[in-house]
């Protein structure tokens, strides 16, 4: 058992061991934390990961390039579209393929819809961790209406398999865009004010979230943390502005930041980002050009790109999400390495940052920092 300041073991006779294990309603997924506590406070912790390991990187080397588009969306379960986008971006970067404009606009609309539904689900999950179950029911219901629209566009509620190398699978009609605009109006005018009254003006919720799970700027930069967790400390870093992809360099949007880096600030940031995403989708639908939606790359089972490598990344709902792809000119990928967003926090953050919190705040810590176990288990 490790001590933070050196390698000595601590006196175990006064401490109790607890398995905050995989079978618990308070963990965000199938993941465990083993910790020692004394009195009411956690003293030392370590992660218990690997329950969701399926060996994706080995499976991807055994299948042709096109067959992997049906496989990669299962790596992150809450937000599957970013995986398809990064895989397609990596393939197009190595092969130097140019995607038509209309396809880039449609890809950005799909990614922003995925971001809105992931943020709503995350706010609901945070409320479930402190016991406010009404907000969880409302959040899951609001997310369901967005999944209905996904089903109309792509054919599936959760796993879409819509974005593929060269563009998207098929076009979207104008009537679907009109339904999307109506849904966004309903979200902005009816549902978000109700969430505001229930969650954000609630004195009990404010007391539970203020000054819990604090992560200051120095620790965040040292660990390699990105996303809303880093923006809550005051820095304005977002992959959509640092290395633009899709159609993001043709729309106007702001990046909300915060001052204190506790759970309360992160919740407010997610709510502000929902409003920014609604604004982005409206601009994209207004300015979308006409044209083809994909490039013809020949026989799908014989896709081939020259030798090369690429590290590509996108901004998911939780931060930077990247793939490192290596190709050796054959029909199957040579190596694909997945870098999930919550790898530094889920593995090293438990050891370095959890000691010092009280036991009842451990689920709040796990939910508000955005730990998603299938990303680092792969």
């Amino acid at each position: 058992m490790k001590n933070l300041n050196g390698g000595n073991t601590m006196d175990k006779s006064k401490m109790t061991e607890m398995f905050f294990g995989p079978n618990h309603p308070g963990v965000p997924g199938n993941y465990g934390i083993n910790y020692f506590y004394e009195g009411d406070t956690v003293v030392s912790a370590e992660p218990n990961a690997g329950h969701l390991h399926r060996g994706f990187e080995k499976l991807m080397e055994e299948r042709e390039w096109i067959k992997n588009t049906a496989l990669v969306c299962r790596i992150c379960v809450m937000e599957p579209d970013i995986n398809e986008m990064v895989y397609a971006m990596g393939y197009e970067a190595i092969g130097e393929i140019e995607v038509p404009k209309r396809a880039q606009y449609i890809r950005s609309i799909i990614l922003e819809m995925a971001r809105i539904q992931a943020h709503i689900f995350s706010i609901g999950g945070n409320c479930g961790a402190i016991g406010l179950y009404t907000a969880m029911h409302w959040g899951v219901l609001a997310r369901d209406y967005i999944l209905d629209l996904f089903e109309e566009i792509t054919g599936g509620r959760v796993y879409h398999i819509y974005i593929r190398p060269g563009g998207v699978r098929h076009d979207i009609e104008t009537s679907t865009f009109q339904k999307l605009l109506d849904l966004l109006d309903d979200l902005e005018k009816n549902r978000m004010p109700e969430f505001e009254k229930l969650i954000f003006e609630n004195p009990t919720a404010q007391k539970r979230w203020k000054s819990t799970a604090v992560l200051n700027q120095e620790d965040a930069l040292r660990l390699g943390v990105t996303g809303p967790t880093l923006r809550a400390t005051g820095l304005e870093h977002d992959v959509r502005k640092l290395m633009p992809y899709g159609a993001y360099d043709e729309v106007d949007f702001e990046i909300p930041t915060g001052n204190n880096a506790d759970a309360w600030t992160r919740m407010k940031l997610k709510r502000d980002e929902i409003f920014q995403s609604i604004n982005i989708i409206r601009q994209l639908i207004k300015n979308i050009p006409d044209g083809p939606v994909s490039v013809n790359l020949g026989n799908a089972l014989k896709y081939r790109i020259p030798k090369g490598e690429a590290y590509v990344k996108v901004e998911s709902g939780r931060g930077e999400y990247g793939y490192y792809m290596v190709s050796d000119g054959s029909l199957k990928p040579y190596r694909v390495h997945v870098r999930g967003t919550s790898t530094p926090l889920g593995l090293y953050g438990v050891e370095a940052l959890l000691p010092g919190t009280r036991i009842e705040d451990v689920p709040v810590w796990a939910h508000s920092l955005g730990i998603c176990p299938p990303e680092f288990d792969r």
């Binding site: 990961a49 690997g50 390991h53 060996g55 990187e57 080995k58 499976l59 055994e62 970067a93 930069l221 040292r222 660990l223 390699g224 820095l235 870093h237 640092l242 290395m243 090369g308 490598e309 690429a310 590290y311 990344k313 930077e320 990247g322 490192y324 290596v326 040579y334 190596r335 390495h337 870098r339 790898t343 530094p344 593995l347 090293y348 370095a352 288990d377």
Partner: protein, 162 residues
């Protein structure tokens, strides 16, 4: 804020690279020898490349080598740099960089689990993601996953069909 060509010039002057090239916009790749790696990473970290995204490992079985790739990023220059080095496949050993970035101990533990590479200075190499694994490390190219599955698990029989 520096452009890609200025960064390439800086790397060629101050470090001792085998090869530097620009892959595409905002992406560079640098190849180094084993002994130069830790000092080069230290130098790049002091010049603003302080975000370590991840450490990857690629198995080049025909050359008999492993390749370790360190991905760095700078928020001021907005450039990705992939720093690479090659080690021998039979006696796969390398030094740790956990004194520069403390997060790296978990990335190295992950590579040890899947490829069998040992890192000197990082003595916590317990199994992280696999459990009770006694075979060859699974991400190596000589581990055939379909033979392993056919031997260990049985398939369901469907009546009258194959």
């Amino acid at each position: 804020m520096k452009t890609e060509n200025e960064v390439i010039k800086l790397i060629k002057e101050k470090l001792n690279p085998l090869e530097v090239n620009k892959l595409r916009a905002q992406n560079l790749a640098v190849k180094l020898e084993n002994e130069e790696l830790v000092s080069s990473l230290n130098y790049l970290k002091s010049k603003g490349y302080s975000h370590l995204a991840t450490i990857s490992c690629v198995d080049w079985i025909e050359d008999n080598e492993f390749e370790l790739v360190y991905h760095l990023f700078s928020y001021e220059d907005k450039i990705n740099i992939s720093v690479k080095t090659r080690i021998d496949r039979k006696k796969s050993k390398f030094v740790t960089i956990k004194n520069l970035w403390a997060v790296a101990q978990y990335y190295e533990r992950d590579i040890h689990d899947f490829f069998g590479v040992e890192f000197e200075g990082n003595d916590d190499m317990e199994e992280l993601i696999l459990e009770n694994w006694n075979d060859t490390p699974p991400m190596r190219k000589d581990f055939k996953t379909r033979d392993y599955v056919n031997e260990k698990f049985e398939w369901r029989e469907y009546h009258g069909q194959k």
